[in-house]
Structure formats: C-alpha cells, structure tokens
C-alpha cells in the first residue's frame, strides 16, 4: 500500500511547430498523495495546461511525451500507464469553458448518464437515476427537471456543476481541473471551489488544479507547484510558499496579485514577457527577468533543490530573496 496516487517523473512534451521542434514542457516532476490537492500555477503558456493534459493523454496529435507517468488505482503502488488505461477508470477531467465542455446536442441528464451506462452496465432507467443522483451530489437544485434540459438552458455555474457531475460519473480517484473557475464570476467561483473541496473529502478524491489565479489555488490546495517556461521552479505546501517564496518568480507573482490589505504599495508587474517555447534562454530561464540575477545564473543547469523539510526550489540563489513583506 502506498500513499501516493500519481507520480509524474521527468515529464517532457515535444511538439512540432512550423517545422521546428519545441519542448514547452521539460523535466516536470510532481507527485500527489491520496486525497491531496495540488495546485499548478504559472502564466499562460508556461506549460501547466499541457502538463495536466499529458497526464490523461489529451495532447494534440504528433506530440511526443517523455518521462514516466505512474498511477495507482487501488491501494497499491503507482504503476506506469497508458492514457487509454485510465480513461473512464480512475482519472477524470473538467475544463475551463463550460459552454464548449458540454455537448450542446445532448440533454444534460443523458450526458451524465453516459459514463455509468458504459462502465457499470446500467440500463437506461438506472443510468438516468444515477445521473440525477450525481446532479444532486454536485448541488444542482431540482435535478429531475434539469436532467431534461439542454446545456444552453443552464447558467454558467450550473453548467460547471454538470461538467463536474459528468466527470464524477466514472468514479475517479483523481480529478484534473483545467482552470475550471476562470470563466465564472467571483461568487460562482467560490461556490464551485467549495463544491470541489467538499467532494474531495467526501469521495476521498485527489485533485490537480491548474490555474493562473494564486488566490484560487490557495483556497483549495495543500501543495503548489509554480511553473515557468515549461519547468517547475518551486514546489511546497501552499501556505509556506505563499508566506516565504524561495524562487524570485514566485515572489514576483505574489507581488503582482492585488490584495485588500495592500492599499499604499503599488502593484508590481514582472518586467518583460515569458519566453516563447521556441527560444527558451540557456541557464536559468527566469534570469533575464529576475531582479536578483547574478552572473552564474546564465549557466546554471536546471535542478530542483530541497530546502527545509517539504520545500524545493529551482533557484540557485534562494538566499538573496527579500521576502514578501519587504
């Protein structure tokens, strides 16, 4: 028996773009315990979504995946898998845009019933009842009535709940979330986060939550992995990372988040733009934008170094960081 449910080791994704090979995800290693929620944060294009999609085999055709993915379905050691092995068995995914994530030509009840019908051999009526049960589980009011509705007849928040219900229909042990709250307004965002939190404890489900929104990750996740330019630059428990970042990029991200307490200080952006996957700089990839940059940063090879008990950083000069408070 193992506490680990997922191990991603040295993952890389190589795509072809304009006749050139690019590697938008490189050397990514993360692991996840049972019932644990891991957040993956970073700017758009940092490879966080690709990382998530490679776990479930949703990469564009022609993508080459390197490294090792291991998943433990039952109370056993995680073992290497092919994406087809976990489709419908153990891993499910929810997406950002609830309109394109629900088939517009299917009533939502039928959509949710599809998984149970195929995987549990339920007949039409049983699958329908199961769908209504799942809709109730995700907090959809009057599910009997709404099961007969089309996706466009539901509000954004309800659509997102339908998507979650459909994802849960295969009884996953790991739920992948690709920015599922980004397209929702803040009050609904809160409800969906609360729902995910509740489902996680009730169903003993692990979650990987990808978002550019640190506050959202802080609310839901135990641990966080910060990604920059296709690599994980910092990992650790969410509260520790937020309180005391060990990578200049994390610190800069924290500074660029507006907060209610912060009234006098000017909001700081990060100088420059994230590099394109076609032209990642040598050495530390954040060095060109880093305010603490030293000469040896340009030649530093990538490695995550253990700091303290549960923290890891990709920065070779973490001692230079001034911290959030300053």
């Amino acid at each position: 028996m193992s506490d680990r449910i997922l191990e991603v080791e040295d993952l890389s994704v190589t795509l072809e773009r304009g006749g050139k090979e690019i590697t938008p995800v490189q050397n990514v290693s993360v692991s996840l315990g049972r019932g644990e929620a891991l957040g993956i944060a970073g700017e758009s294009g940092c490879g966080k979504s690709l990382t998530l999609k490679s776990i479930i085999g949703l990469l564009p055709p022609g993508a080459i995946v390197g490294g090792d993915l291991r998943f433990a379905l039952d109370r056993e050691e995680p073992i290497s898998y092919e994406s087809a092995d976990v489709h419908g068995h153990g891993i499910a995914i929810i997406f950002q845009e609830p309109m394109t994530a629900l088939n517009p030509t299917m009533r939502v009840g039928d959509l949710i019933a599809e998984g149970p019908k195929i995987h549990h051999g339920l007949d039409r009526r049983e699958a329908r009842e199961r769908a209504i049960e799942l809709m109730r589980l995700v907090g959809i009011p009057s599910p009997e009535k709404r099961a007969r509705m089309w996706p466009h007849q539901l509000s954004g928040g309800l659509r997102q709940r339908v998507m979650i219900a459909a994802a849960l229909s295969t009884e996953p042990k790991l739920l992948l979330c690709d920015e599922p709250t980004t397209a929702l307004d803040v009050s609904i965002q809160d409800q969906i986060l609360g729902l995910l939190q509740e489902l996680r404890t009730r169903l003993d489900m692990s979650i990987i939550f990808v978002s550019h929104d640190l506050a959202v990750i802080g609310e839901l996740c135990d641990r966080i992995a910060i990604m920059y330019a296709g690599q994980v630059v910092e990992k650790g428990p969410v509260d520790e990372v937020f309180a005391d970042p060990k990578h200049p990029y994390t610190e800069a991200l924290m500074h660029s988040v507006p907060s209610f307490q912060q009234t006098t200080e000017k909001l700081e952006g990060i100088e420059g733009a994230p590099p394109d996957p076609g032209s990642f700089p040598d050495g530390c990839r954040f060095a060109p934008r880093c305010r603490y940059v030293r000469d040896d940063c340009a030649t530093a090879s990538y490695a995550l170094v253990q700091i303290g008990e549960r923290r890891e950083t990709g920065c070779i000069h973490p001692e230079l960081l001034e911290g959030i408070g300053s």
Partner: protein, 291 residues
C-alpha cells in the same frame, strides 16, 4: 419561475432563457419557412393522391384529340398523343418528388459517413476519401450520367446512382471540416477521458454537432436534384417515356411553344414553384440558426 431550492447566487432562473428552447424554436421560425412548408406539403399531397385527383389516365392515348386546347374535360388540354396534360402533371409529382428528395438525401448520407470517417480517423482514411472527392469533382457530370445510363439502363435508379456518386462530395467536405473542428473541443475530450468508444464518440458527440451545416445545404440540393432530373429528362437521359415527368414534358411541349405554349410552360412553372418552396424552407432555417 423561481425555484425554492435554488442557490441564491446561482442565477438558476436562467433555465429557459436559452435562445433555442424546444417549443420556441418552432414558434420563432420565420414566416417564409411556413410558406415553404405549405408549398412542399401541397406538392406531397398531390403526389400521394394523384390517382384520386387526376381526371384521366395519364397514359391513355387519344390520337383523334391531340394537342387540344383547354376544355371542361381536359382542363389543361392534351399533348401531341392526345393524353390529358393535367393528369400527367399530377402523376409526374410521383416521379419528380421522390427523385428530388432521395437525390439529395442519398448523397447526404454517403457524404456524411465518408466525411465523418475522413475527419475523425484522419491519416490514410482522410487521404483516400478526399482524393476520391477531388477526382469526382474534376469529372464532368453529364459524361458520368451518360456512362451510368448506358451501364445501368435509363430510369430512376441510374439517375439516383449518378446523383449519389456526384453530389456526396459537397457533404463530405462540409462534414469533414466540421468534424475536424469539433473533435478538438472540450466535450469530445471529456468523452474520451470518460472512456467512451471511438464510434460512440463519433456518433453521439461529433456527428450531431457537425450535421447542422449539411441540413442548411440540403434544401438547395433538393432543388438542384429536381432541376437536374428535369434537365436530364429534357436531354433524354432521364426517366424514359411514357412515364410522365416534368422535365420530359417540357421537352415534349417545346416544339409546340408557338401554338400550345402551356404544354412546356406549365411544367416549367411547377418546377420553379417547388424549388421556391424548398428554398424558402432552407433560407428560413438558416436565418433561424445563424440569426
């Protein structure tokens, strides 16, 4: 309508605000759709009840009474063999309508299947289907019909085979494009992750969303098939005599256009009005779906 159990912030009242509610879809159809449907319905009723409506046997020859002007007995006169023109026009609906509809539906079915396979499976399936489509499109239509008529004999079967072989290409292209777009949408990804089989995904999640575009094209294709049948019959490649058919009747009436102008004109008008009705339906639906 308020829902007592609804979460206060969930805007659950958004139920039924959808633009395409089941009932409202029909209520909000433009008037032109109803006009078109009425026209087509009249044609269908005529085809079904032609034996009851026709005053004479459409094939009965009466050489003594040929090329008669309209009278009480022969409301639209007689043709050069003395056959009752009205009866022949009514009976012709039983030939032209089925070929018009089937001549569009059969290519649609074939094109949808081939286009879906090409778009969804890609690789060599795609290459095979689309190169075949290129060849068909480059082939002169009338040559193909002539070849088929020689091979299969004159008649409805040859015409339908020819239409199917020629016209599937357009449907295949439309469907392939749609499938390529849809197969990368999140709901198809979600279906894959849920472990559904590829055929199930294609049938339940991809095709129903791809087919709208072909349904918009279908009415204009029905018009095309009807006109093409008339054209082929006019050229003697269509339905063989003595079966009444509108295009053939135009051809038969043409020599008498100076004396008995209605012989060629009325079947022509009948085809035009039918085409108009079908086009109105198509246009109306298109406005409704895009508007």
């Amino acid at each position: 309508m308020t829902d007592p159990t609804a979460l206060p912030l969930d805007l659950s009242a958004a139920d039924s605000q959808g633009p395409l509610d089941d009932r409202k879809f029909w209520q909000r159809l433009p008037v032109k759709v109803w006009v078109g449907l009425a026209i087509v319905l009249i044609y269908v009723l005529i085809a079904v009840f032609a034996p009851l409506l026709a005053p004479h046997d459409p094939l009965a020859i009466d050489p003594a009474n040929k090329l008669a002007s309209p009278t009480g007995d022969h409301l639209l006169g007689t043709d050069e063999l003395g056959r009752d023109v009205l009866s022949r026009l009514l009976y012709a609906a039983r030939v032209d309508l089925p070929i018009g509809f089937l001549g569009a539906l059969m290519p649609m079915v074939l094109g949808t299947i081939l286009g879906a396979l090409a778009g969804f499976y890609g690789r060599w399936t795609d290459t095979l289907v689309m190169r075949t489509a290129d060849v068909v499109q480059a082939f002169p239509a009338y040559i193909l019909v002539i070849v088929l008529v020689f091979a299969l004999g004159q008649g409805a079967k040859s015409i339908l085979v020819a239409f199917t072989v020629l016209a599937w290409v357009v449907y295949a292209r439309i469907i392939r494009g749609e499938v390529l777009r849809i197969r990368d949408l999140d709901y198809v990804h979600a279906a894959r992750v849920a472990g559904l089989g590829r055929l199930r995904i294609l049938r339940a999640h991809v095709l129903p969303n791809a087919i709208n575009q072909t349904l918009i094209y279908l009415p204009s294709d029905i018009v095309f098939a009807t006109l093409a049948l008339a054209a082929f019959s006019f050229l003697g490649l269509g339905i063989p005599p003595p079966t009444p058919e509108w295009g053939a009747m135009i051809a038969e009436g043409q020599p008498f256009i100076r004396t008995n102008w209605w012989l060629a004109t009325i079947p022509g008008l009948i085809i035009v009005v039918f085409g108009l009705g079908v086009s109105l339906i198509g246009e109306g639906f298109e406005e409704r779906l895009h508007g």
